[in-house]
Structures are given as structure tokens and as C-alpha cells.
């Protein structure tokens, strides 16, 4: 029996060893570097292009944040591959990052979980002197305290924007003034909400909790949470489906399943290009918003490459491409405006700038996140 068990454990270890080797093998740089365009620059031996050639940068980000439209420039510059993995909610980001250390180099946490990543040691401080455009990035974004620890900066501002009300202007003829339009009987079964705890912030806003204190949405009392739950359950008959990814939201609009939604500019931008007539609006109660910064994971094996990417993606040109690819997510570098198309310059984050920024109640760290999550599940299971 003793011999048997030592056999078993030895073999078990061997199996685990092989398995982990297998996993590591997977992470090795893959695919041949694009040839041609980077060649002239690559001839100097000290050039970073030579150093990074063939490597793969893994980005774990929100949908649209690894779009070839802007990552291509980086790939060509250094002869590397940028691989994007998209997540559907802030919590999913944290869970994925924790469960697979070493896989991702860059993450794009929003302002509700940035603090968690920084305090939990999941991301590394960033040497901002290595980012050429650091000085041009919006101060309001750089000064956020949640991405700082011991005086060090952990996040590079990337984009920000609203969780606003999206409506199909072909069906909803009049611009909705209030979020309460979701409760309107004529749109029964035509509403879609995001499958995320941010719906709790949303009803908190409808309840007017953030009139005096913006943080109130993210620190609700038990009574307020119970009230929010009631409001969300009341809303259920109006809701067709809770969307999990931006792609799913697109399908819901395209298949005429819904006419009202809470969503991001990405949806409006993408679908209007396909001939739909969607509009986004910030109702009178206001809207919540998100600020996304890019961070380098502490488990990354390509930290230098990641830093080079942050330097690249904050340049005015790249930021303009980000703006275009995401259908109008406000970007951190104001100089990007010079590279934007006339059409995109009409976006409120360009024309209104700071005023637009002030109209949004940006997500904050939620201490009772477990409670919020459980409440959201209770809403979903309520009949």
C-alpha cells in the first residue's frame, strides 16, 4: 500500500509537471513577425524593434480595446503580436486575472476595481518617464487616487465614457428625458440592461441617491439596497434580456428585440455604421461613467514590451484611432483631436470636454461588492 501511494504521488507530480510545462509552452511567443514594414528600423542592433521581435503581448480588456485598427501600428513597429482577450464585467476581469497569473501583460480596469488591483498587488507601478506623451494626458485622469499607492502611479489613462441610455430612434420618436422611460408600459419587453451590478448604481441614480454625494451609489445602506432590489425586480417585466457582452447587445438591437438599453458609445458607433438609427443620451438624473486605465500586471513576463505599448497607445495618433475604433470613447490625450475625422470631432467629449466629464458620476470602488453581486443574482432569480 505504501509503495502504491508513493507511486501515485510521484506519477501525479509528473502529470502536474507535464501539464504546467504544457501551459508554459502555450505562452511562448507565437506566429511569425510581420515582415517588411518594420525592416528598415530593425537593422540597428540597439533598436527596441529587434529586442521585442516575435514576442506576443497579451491584453485582457474591455470589448474593443484590442482592436486591430490601433494595435496594428504597434505590431508593425516592433514586429510583435498583440492578442486581446475581452471580459464582460469588472468582476470578470479580477477573477480572470487572479485565476491565471502570468498569462496577461496588460489589463484595462475601470474605476470600480482599479483600487482592488493596486492594493491586491496584481499590478505593477509604472515608470511614467518612459511614456513620452505622459504630459499631454488629462490631469483629471492622472490624479485619481485609486490607481496610486505610496506615491507611485499604477495606471495610464486610456479612455472614459458614459453608461448612457441608448434608444432606437426609429421606434422611440422622442428623445427620452429620464431613465424612467424604462418603466414605460409601451416599451414592455423592449428594454435591455447590462448583466452587471452597475444596474444597482443605475437605480440608485433613479432614486436620486447621488444628488448630494456621488459616492452614495457605491456605498448603499442595506435599506437602500433593498429598495434598489425592489425597483430592479419591478423592472423585470419590461426587460427582454440582460446583455452580457457588447456583441450580444448589438444582436438584440439588430434583431429588433429591444429599443431601449443601457450601454456604451461602442454600440451606437458600431450599429449606426450598419444602417441602424441609434442614439445615446444622458437623461436628467445623470448617468454613471467609467474611467479605464491601462495597467501592467505584476505577473507579466513582457513588462518592457507592455510599457512600450502604453507609450505607443497614448500617442495622439493612436488615441485618435482608439476613438474611432470604439465609436467614440473619450480618450485621455487631448492632442488626439488633430488626427480625428470631422465627423468624430462632433462627439460631446471633444466639443464639451470637461463639462461632459463633470456630468458623469464615475464608478468608484465598492467595498460591499459581494453584497452587490448577491443582490444582482437575487434580482435575476426573482420570478
Amino acid at each position: 500500500m505504501i509503495r502504491m501511494s508513493s507511486w501515485v504521488s510521484a506519477a501525479g507530480l509528473a502529470v502536474l509537471g507535464i501539464a504546467s510545462l504544457g501551459c508554459q509552452g502555450e505562452k511562448k511567443p507565437e506566429g511569425a513577425a510581420p515582415t517588411g514594414s518594420a525592416a528598415p528600423a530593425a537593422q540597428k542592433p540597439a533598436d527596441p524593434a529587434e529586442k521585442f521581435k516575435g514576442q506576443t503581448l497579451n491584453i485582457l480588456a474591455w470589448e474593443g480595446y484590442a482592436d486591430p485598427k490601433f494595435t496594428k501600428g504597434f505590431e508593425e513597429k516592433y514586429g510583435v503580436t498583440v492578442k486581446g482577450t475581452y471580459f464582460g464585467s469588472s468582476d470578470e476581469l479580477v477573477a480572470k486575472l487572479k485565476s491565471s497569473p502570468g498569462v496577461y501583460d496588460i489589463v484595462s480596469p475601470s474605476s470600480d476595481v482599479a483600487y482592488t488591483l493596486v492594493q491586491g498587488g496584481l499590478v505593477d507601478p509604472i515608470d511614467t518617464s518612459k511614456i513620452a506623451n505622459w504630459g499631454d494626458l488629462a490631469d483629471a485622469l492622472k490624479n485619481l487616487e485609486d490607481a496610486k499607492k505610496d506615491g507611485k502611479q499604477y495606471g495610464v489613462p486610456f479612455t472614459w465614457g458614459p453608461d448612457y441610455l441608448i434608444y432606437d430612434a426609429n421606434v422611440v420618436k422622442e428623445e427620452p428625458k429620464s431613465w424612467k422611460v424604462f418603466y414605460d408600459a409601451q416599451y414592455k419587453g423592449k428594454v435591455t440592461l447590462w448583466d452587471d451590478i452597475s444596474n444597482i448604481y443605475l437605480v440608485g441614480q433613479i432614486m436620486g441617491l447621488d444628488k448630494t454625494n456621488q459616492a452614495a451609489l457605491y456605498n448603499m445602506t442595506d435599506e437602500q439596497l433593498a429598495e434598489a432590489k425592489k425597483k430592479l425586480v419591478e423592472l423585470k417585466p419590461q426587460v427582454r434580456k440582460y446583455w452580457a457582452t457588447a456583441g450580444e447587445l448589438n444582436d438584440l438591437f439588430k434583431n429588433k428585440e429591444v429599443v431601449l438599453a443601457v450601454g456604451w458609445p461602442l454600440t451606437v458607433g458600431t450599429l449606426n455604421k450598419e444602417g441602424l438609427n441609434l442614439k445615446g443620451v444622458i437623461p436628467e438624473e445623470g448617468a454613471t461613467g467609467w474611467i479605464d486605465r491601462l495597467m501592467i500586471t505584476s505577473s507579466s513576463k513582457n513588462k518592457d514590451l507592455a510599457l512600450a505599448y502604453l507609450d505607443y497607445v497614448t500617442s495622439p495618433k493612436a488615441q485618435a484611432l482608439v476613438f474611432e475604433a470604439t465609436g467614440g470613447y473619450c480618450v485621455a490625450n487631448a492632442k488626439a483631436k488633430e488626427h480625428m475625422s470631422e465627423d468624430l470631432k462632433k462627439s460631446p467629449c471633444v466639443t464639451e470636454g470637461e463639462t461632459y466629464f463633470k456630468r458623469l458620476n464615475f464608478w468608484q470602488y465598492v467595498k460591499e461588492r459581494k453584497k452587490y453581486n448577491e443582490l444582482w443574482n437575487e434580482v435575476k432569480s426573482a420570478k
Binding site: V8, E92, N373, N377, S381
Partner: protein
């Protein structure tokens, strides 16, 4: 299972080299089970007694919080019950479709039996997600079904209740799991000696009596085996509610996925995982007993049961 004691006895009786050879035969599956079933579940069990801190990390301090949460909050209980309800409906429907179909193929079809049988298996080659999406295309507001109903003037407005509802989940799951029921039922039908059916007829039983008193009882082990497949697989399904379900069709695996993949509450996720495991093991045990008892009715020795 009655071969197990015999094998054990022979290990002791054999000479060492043979014993070693046997060990090599048993070792790979044993290792497999240990690495991919026993150890992970032990990990889950251990983890279920830990707590989490504010940042969502599991902390190495014993805590009964997760178990307490599972048993005190209605969310977990009601979701589990709801999942049972769906699983039971799906299983019943899958059995209801499988038995006549399998009977037809096994007893009534003379030519092209294999072809018909493989036509039923073919859908298994198509990915689950593709099939679920196909249902979206059929059931959607502007889908095939609604277009047809409106074209035929049966309804004048699209019926919204088809997609994103409990029924959409049930339809999708029945479609996906019916082949799993059909295969063992068909096998059971095929194994019934035709002479028994003849004898029943010779003794004056009509077609219906023969089916219900001879054929169906003999096929019960297959029905139970297939039904168990459908039930257990439905119990663990989380994609159908996501793709086809509406706003109130949360199933228990969605909760598990949420606890591990979103809330990062691994202790509570482990608790739900363990409860599900216990339920499934209890169910498998019960049905395997039922299967055996039905199989032994047949020839006193459990011929059908022994074959499986």
C-alpha cells in the same frame, strides 16, 4: 459490478509478476481519477471552509461563512429547486420523444436502420453553441417561426414569448440532450430478444399489451440510463440560460459560474459545487440501483444490466 470481488480475490492468489501487471492496468485510470476528480474536489471541499477578505482573496482562516450563506439565503435553494424543475421537464420530454422514436427504428424499420440511427447521432457533431444560436434564429422576434406565423396569418404581431424564455431553454436542452437518451433506449430495444415479442403475441396479447407489458419494461434500464444522462447534463448546464433564457431563468450552474468567474467568491462557489456533486452522486446511485433491479426482472440474472 459482480466481477469486482473476483478480481480482488485473484490479486491475492496470483504470483507477484502478474500482480504487478494488473497494477499497471489499474494505475492509469486510478491516477486519472485521482488527478482530475479526487484532488480537485478535495481542494474544493477544503476551500469551502475558508473565508475571503475585502479584496476578494481567499484567506487561510477556517470559516463557515460560505456554508452558512448557502443554507440561509433563499437565492441558492430556490435556484437549485428551479434547476431541478427544468432538468425534470427536459428529461421527461427527452424520454417522451426518445421512446417512440427508438421503438420505431428498432422494431418497425426494416431497411436503413443504421442510416436513421446515425441521423439522430449527427446533431451531436455540431457544436452546442451553434445549435443554441440556431434556436435563436428560429425563435427570435424576427425569426423563422414568427415570420411563418405572420405569413400564415395565424398571428398579426410577432410572439415575443418564444425566445428568451423558460420554454426556449427547455426546447434547446431537449434538442441537445435527446440523442443522449435515445442511444441507450435504442440499444435496450435492440437487445430484446424478438422471440419474447413473438411469444407474447402467441399467448394472445395485442400489440399495445405487448408493448406495455413486455417491450417497455425490458427497455427500462435504457430509459433510466438515458434519463439520468439528460437529467445530470441539464443540471450542470449554464449556456442555455445565458443564450436562450430570459430575465428570470437563472440556473444553479450560472450561480456557480458567477461565484467563480464574476464575484470571485470561491468558498461559496465551492459549497455549491460540492452540494451539486452530492446530489448527482446520490442520483446516479439511485438510478443505477433501479436499473439493476429492472434488468434482473428480465431473466433473473441481470443480463441487460450486466452488459452495461
Amino acid at each position: 459490478m459482480d466481477t469486482a470481488p473476483a478480481a480482488k480475490a485473484s490479486i491475492h492468489a496470483q504470483t507477484p509478476p502478474k500482480r504487478r501487471a494488473l497494477l499497471f492496468l489499474v494505475l492509469p485510470p486510478a491516477l486519472w481519477l485521482l488527478c482530475f476528480l479526487v484532488l480537485p474536489y478535495l481542494g474544493l471541499f477544503f476551500q469551502s471552509f475558508l473565508g475571503t477578505n475585502d479584496l476578494g482573496d481567499v484567506v487561510l482562516e477556517p470559516s463557515l461563512d460560505a456554508w452558512r450563506a448557502f443554507f440561509t439565503k433563499t437565492l441558492y435553494r430556490s435556484t437549485l429547486l428551479y434547476t431541478f424543475k427544468i432538468a425534470l421537464t427536459v428529461t421527461s420530454l427527452a424520454v417522451l420523444f426518445s421512446v417512440p422514436l427508438a421503438y420505431f427504428i428498432a422494431f418497425k424499420v426494416r431497411r436503413g436502420k443504421e442510416l436513421l440511427y446515425s441521423l439522430i447521432i449527427v446533431p451531436l457533431w455540431v457544436s452546442y453553441i451553434v445549435r443554441a444560436y440556431a434556436w435563436k434564429i428560429i425563435l427570435g422576434r424576427e425569426g423563422i417561426l414568427n415570420s411563418f406565423l405572420q405569413w400564415a396569418k395565424i398571428t398579426d404581431a410577432p410572439v415575443e414569448a418564444f425566445l428568451y424564455s423558460e420554454w426556449a431553454i427547455i426546447i434547446g436542452l431537449v434538442h441537445i440532450y435527446t440523442p443522449f437518451v435515445l442511444m441507450p433506449v435504442y440499444t435496450a430495444f435492440e437487445q430484446i430478444p424478438r422471440s419474447l415479442v413473438e411469444a407474447s403475441k402467441d399467448l394472445g396479447a395485442g400489440r399495445i399489451t405487448t408493448f406495455f407489458r413486455v417491450v417497455l419494461p425490458l427497455s427500462l434500464p435504457g430509459v433510466i440510463a438515458g434519463g439520468t444522462f439528460a437529467f445530470v447534463l441539464t443540471l450542470g448546464d449554464f449556456l442555455a440560460p445565458v443564450l436562450l433564457g430570459g430575465t428570470d431563468n437563472l440556473m444553479i450552474s450560472n450561480v456557480v459560474q458567477n461565484l467563480f468567474g464574476t464575484s470571485n467568491d470561491r468558498p461559496l462557489g465551492s459549497v455549491v459545487g460540492i452540494v451539486l456533486l452530492v446530489v448527482v452522486v446520490a442520483l446516479l446511485e439511485t438510478t443505477s440501483r433501479a436499473e439493476k433491479s429492472f434488468a434482473s426482472l428480465e431473466s433473473g440474472r441481470g443480463r441487460l444490466g450486466g452488459a452495461r
